[in-house]
Amino acid sequence: MEAAPEGTGRLYGGGGGRASDLSTGRKLVPWSSWAEWRLVRDGLFSARPVAALRRVTLTPTPHPPARKFLSKRGEVCESSACSQIAAWRSRGSLPVPVDVTAAFVEIRLRDPFFRNVMASEDALESEEMLAMLYSMAIMRLVNGFVENSHKKTGYSISELSEVVGIPRVLVDIRHESSHRSLPSLRLLRLAAIKAFDWLKCIYWDSQTNAVPDFQVELREKLHEINHFLKDKDLVKAKAGSKRKRSEKLISRSIKYVRRLYYTCPSDVVSVLLDFFQLNAPESSENSEVQQTDSLDVDQSSDICNQISNSDTKIIVAKLSKKEPRLLLAILKSVIEMIETLEGLENKGESNACLPAKIKNLCSHVLWLVTNIKELKDSGCIRLVHEKVLSSDRNAVPCFCLAKLLRKLLKLSIIGERCIIDATLLLIEMASNNVKEKLRKLPALSLGGLAKDSTIPKSTKEIESVDKATEKLEMFKSQLKRKDVCLAENGTRGSLNTIMSEKCNRWTTTKSWTPCPIGMVPCSFSSTSVLPTLDVIDHELKDDKLEQHVNFESDDDIERIGYYSHPEKQLDVESILEISRPSPECEISNMPELTFPLKGRLLVGGVWKVVSEEELLLIKSKMKILL
């Protein structure tokens, strides 16, 4: 409507002028990354070939069998997208289009017309109810887009809707259902499809286009740096001014990359790793083993190959002077990559280039560790001990190195020269007390290797040695705690003793490095990482214990009951957690798990309750051991 004043009508801009529709600065959103947003988007639109639905609406057979499979398959993704949006909603700040799209999907999931009714119990049979749901969603859509400006400007809803581009049928339905009789379900279904399409176009597609491709951006910058570096080499002989200019350009690009690194450290690491990998001798032809995002590798692979391995190293070295922890993060990823390759090899996958790849990666390990050492010696990396809290961005807690070391030791190719050298360097860097303990380790594992160098057996041995060290660690930290004597409390039934058992459930974190709210410091590199927030399976089993309890008394009783059976709690959660550890926590943090294990000991694979005397006995034996 040309009469509408500028800037009042359109809320979520559709057509042109995209730049003005984007927020200039940062905005609080309920998703933790665009990847998460994309996943939800794909889920919401998974089950919907629009044409098929349209055809269906013309021939009103309730359950067209041809669509049976499709809807059944799509339903899974759709509903998981909806539950993700439920989580977003609980955080607040959910954009209107997302909210309304989810509403339409949820209603459709309950509409027998769009799905196989037999498939689930929550289908809604009442046409009246469905009509009510559809018209409410449509009403909220129209109001959500225009109501604010309606109040501000006094223009009519239909005028404003036209400016925003909302299909007229939706505006009419809003009017009819709020002021007159409820529109027919047939009409509502058609309108819902229309609304859905409109939302896809106006919000989901526009936002998709607006999200910058981080990896491409980063690659471009890295190429720029590389280019400048080459340039610098060429003009080395020439006069200072030109060289200075290119130096300036380099530092500016590096600054830019650092900014990208702050927003998404793990992406930077994976792109750099890509560069390393792509330059591996035979890797260019088969990329099936390549686990990192190979999505945009294809389109830019020709540029990628221009940066040679050595050039990448120069860039990484330059970057790491400013961001030393980047090296640790890369090292961790390289080791993990070797782990996966080894896994493939052990599975008997016959792939000619596997050993070469591993070898290539191993050389990187040594290079990385050497660089870390250099940075440490020059004071760029400051190693800090536990309990020394530091807000220094370049501080690296000692245990990070220790953990990397453990990871390294677990590799079955420990015999590689590069790896041995890297290991020794790392040991040297790790602080004294760790050093002593660990000095024995490589000796042990190398010994095992010498005996029989075919892989599977020695892996096991190293693992068992590792596990033993972990256990030692755990016992020690457990014994350090004064309240280890939980068993003496005896009476477990009453609430009070349980409260006193729990008197240390909150602690201050022992080591911490500054990291954005919503992220956690990686325990290997102390760089910030976005944690995986999906609930681990076994926790879901306790569903009924931790449901939406809204201050109701009978639920409270159940809750108390839950606490008065600590054994039960132990059985369900902690033991499962211990006995089925994910690879990450297996090696990382046994000491932190002392609580659920209090008073229990792994004896022959079973967690047994032990008395205090028994523990003390172990303690004294441990002293002899140490």
């Binding site: 359109r10 809320l11 979520y12 801009g13 529709d21 984007l22 927020s23 940062r26 905005k27 609080l28 933790s32 665009w34 539950s83 439920a86 989580a87 609980s90 955080r91 604010n148 526009s206 607006a210 910058p212 702050y262 961005r393 409260m499 459930r505 909150w506 602690t507 201050t508 974190t509 500054p514 990291c515 709210i517 919503g518 992220m519 956690v520 910030s528 944690p531 995986t532 927030l533 999906d534 609930v535 681990i536 926790e539 879901l540 931790e546 939406h548 809204n550 201050f551 008394s553 639920d555 409270d556 959660e573 902690s574 990450e584 926590c585 990382s588 932190e592 798990l593 609580f595 659920p596």
Partner: protein
């Protein structure tokens, strides 16, 4: 006026009818229970502060039941709380954070989200007051109940319920010039024939040239954000200078948080249904109420006491650890086994730190123009 606190700011001029009302209340023979009600922005909180300053010299300690979850007097937003105040307000116009004696986390800035729970929290706090400060004679102290700007609809119904439950000795109603926006005159919460408490009507203090009440418009969103920022500033010792929000935000990212095992706490979503599988997606980087589930055995109502607010600043699902930032001291924290998630939005200024920007604050977000 005679009873005004000497330290009250010079520009605060107390109108005559206010002074009279306050004097009447403070001269009651027995410690009064006063409910202050009236429309939004009419000056309820200001009057309550004035009254509190007046009651203090006589009683030494005054109870204060803070029921405005949107703009609480002493606690961060989203809380209902009971305080025992022994220090006069130096600033009559602005609220200040003080330690609560008892607190319930309602988890939204409007009581309309869940009237029943809201009233239960309120009654729970009032019961606590009666039990502790009314049953034993020696301890008797007066109570001031400040209400949100309830005039109509669901809010009015809640006010009626609340007045019936509390049975105040004095009700002070502030009225503005637009009659339709006032509460009904008289004892609107009682059936006819019942005798009620002392009723005092006073006018909103500011008027324009045509004698219409001037309401003090407040930027409530900005005030709430300020409140939360102030609250989390308490995580640091007062001798650390954190003058700007930027400094505070950076300090919060570097502050070693508290950690607690996931299996040691229970998460309750107060106002939304969240699937179990999504619980950490929902909780990460949000504000939660830290509450104690077992402390409620004394009363029939199972409303957990809240010891304060925290920010779930990170979740490590694999290790089963939650990282929480809170100004609540560790010894009070030990009993906390409930995390209550409401709809108290985390201040954006705390998430935007240069070089340490929260992942929940991306750029290029499609939004309104």
């Amino acid at each position: 006026m005679a009873g005004a606190s000497p330290s009250a700011r010079a520009e605060v001029v107390v109108p005559l009818d206010w002074a009279g009302a306050a004097a009447t209340v403070s001269s009651e023979p027995a410690p009064p229970v006063v409910v202050v009600c009236g429309p939004k922005n009419a000056g309820k909180s200001t009057f309550s502060r004035l009254l509190l300053n007046l009651l203090l010299p006589r009683y030494g300690r005054v109870g204060y039941l803070d029921t405005d979850v949107g703009q609480p007097e002493f606690s961060p937003p989203g809380c209902l709380s009971f305080h025992v105040v022994d220090k006069a307000f130096s600033d009559l116009l602005n609220p200040s954070l003080r330690e609560t004696e008892r607190c319930c986390f309602f988890g939204d800035i409007s009581s309309k989200r869940d009237p029943e729970t809201y009233l239960n929290c309120l009654f729970h706090l009032y019961d606590y007051f009666v039990e502790k400060y009314r049953c034993s004679v020696s301890e008797t102290i007066p109570l001031i109940v400040n209400t949100p700007g309830w005039v109509k609809g669901a809010g009015f119904d809640m006010l009626v319920e609340m007045l019936r439950y509390i049975c105040p000795t004095i009700v002070v109603q502030i009225r503005i010039s637009v009659q339709s926006k006032n509460l009904p005159d008289g004892m609107f919460w009682l059936d006819c024939g019942q005798t009620g408490p002392n009723m005092i009507n006073i006018d909103a203090p500011f008027r324009d040239s045509m004698n219409r009440s001037l309401l003090i418009q407040k930027d409530s969103y900005g005030m709430r954000e300020c409140r939360l920022v102030e609250y989390f500033k308490q995580c640091f010792p007062s001798d650390i200078s954190l003058t700007t929000n930027k400094e505070l935000a950076y300090a919060l990212t570097s502050l070693p948080p508290y950690e607690v095992s996931i299996s040691d706490v229970m998460v309750i979503h107060l106002h939304f249904q969240v699937p179990r599988s999504e619980v950490w997606h929902s909780l990460n980087a949000t504000i939660v109420g830290l509450a104690i589930s077992c402390g409620t055995t004394e009363a029939g109502r199972s409303i957990p006491w809240c010891v304060g607010l925290g920010i779930v600043r990170g979740v490590d699902v694999q290790r089963g650890i939650l990282y929480v930032i809170t100004p609540v001291p560790l010894k009070h924290l030990q009993r906390v086994d409930l995390l209550l998630q409401g709809l108290i939005e985390i201040p954006k200024s705390l998430l935007q730190v240069r070089g340490c920007v929260s992942p929940y604050m991306p750029t290029n977000v499609l939004h309104k123009i």
